[in-house]
Amino acid sequence: MAGLLYYSSRSGNTDRFVARLGRAALRIPVSPSEPMPEPPADYVLICPTYADGEGRGAVPKQVIRFLNDAGRRAGLRGVIGSGNRNFGKTYGLSADIIAAKCGIPLLYKFELAGTDTDIARVNDGLTAFWGSRCLTA
């Protein structure tokens, strides 16, 4: 079963984006004391960026904790990044890092809570992405 996972800090931008997508999605908890979700067999991760000016700390610690588990990481098929272009070259950097680290495609980037255009592109894109995977599987 193909699915969606995401992380959103308490500022809630990614959470609002996912709510507007209207797809079932599991949230990686903000608090390290809460249990990690059990991911579906195949999934796409949506991840915001919190980098400093040098790009350090781009990937949220909880996302690193989640991906450090080989079993949970095995089903990751693609990543969507979010951020703010005002951060210049580190815009959406966490998704670049995760894509390179895990050898999976970077599918899309959007700013803050995304626009209606982003929602439409990601929804169409995810439908096509999983459709093409089923045909080739």
């Binding site: 308490r10 931008n13 919190y50 690193i64 951060f87 815009y91 970077l106 809570a113 209606d116 096509a128």
Partner: protein, 324 residues
Amino acid sequence: MKDTINAPAVPRAINWNRLQDDKDLEVWNRLTVNFWLPEKVPLSNDVPSWATLTPEEQRLTIRVFTGLTLLDTIQNAVGAPAMMPDAQTPHEEAVLTNIAFMEAVHARSYSSIFSTLCSTREVDEAFRWSDENPHLQAKARAILGTYAPGADPLKRKVASVFLESFLFYSGFYLPMYWSSRAKLTNTADLIRLIIRDEAVHGYYIGYKFQRAMERETAERRQELKDYAFGLLFELYEIEGHYTEELYDDLGLTEEVKSFLHYNANKALQNLGFEALFPPEACEVNPAILAALSPDSENHDFFSGSGSSYVIGRAVATEDDDWDF
């Protein structure tokens, strides 16, 4: 007993190892790591480029920068200090002192640009212009009204996010425009440092606004939302006039307005609200977006229209917390 009731609150030392809100430390760390001073940017390399601008383009650029200086001055001297008594944690107060100081650095930076590129007479003329321009003065007064003592703390945050995330952008547009045409590129590097700071400020103040909203009644939340959209309309109207006056001669007004719509939507998102302007009103010139985030290409693997995609092999990253 009476004595203890009337006793003033115990002065408390700030303990950064006991946080009520993790976001305070996260943002403190971002802001302190990102600290910079204008001396770090080799502005004098822009002297030959400055000479290629027409006298009208030079005058426009100086005026735009005095307008930005005014907003930074307000946020430094009034805005950030006005929010300190509203802080919910001692750490929030400390973050606001950092914000206040960096606004002073920003305001100071424009004078560094002026002393490098312009004559004293031109700069004095532009500061006079900023004192007298009705649109610039109107937006400054609209914001200052919300910062007045006794004003609503949450409305103050709304105005502050609009200043940080919306009002600057009619000005930021111009150095991004010059940069996209390979002009004043060092100045643009400095402006990008300011833009980066303002993004953290707008994010943090908006975040604190959202936390405070959670504690309010439904009626009060609606009142604040109505206030936010009302203030945005008021500011947008002023920004429209300001933009026309500055950019009509260069024929850039419509392009700048798209940029304003795009940034107004981002300001609303920082406050946790939905966007106001539809996507077709927010189509920013791709050259300006590229000037904002120079090395970040447009990623759209889905439509195949983004930058070329190559499956990366697993690589070692900078982040030493990864253990695979």
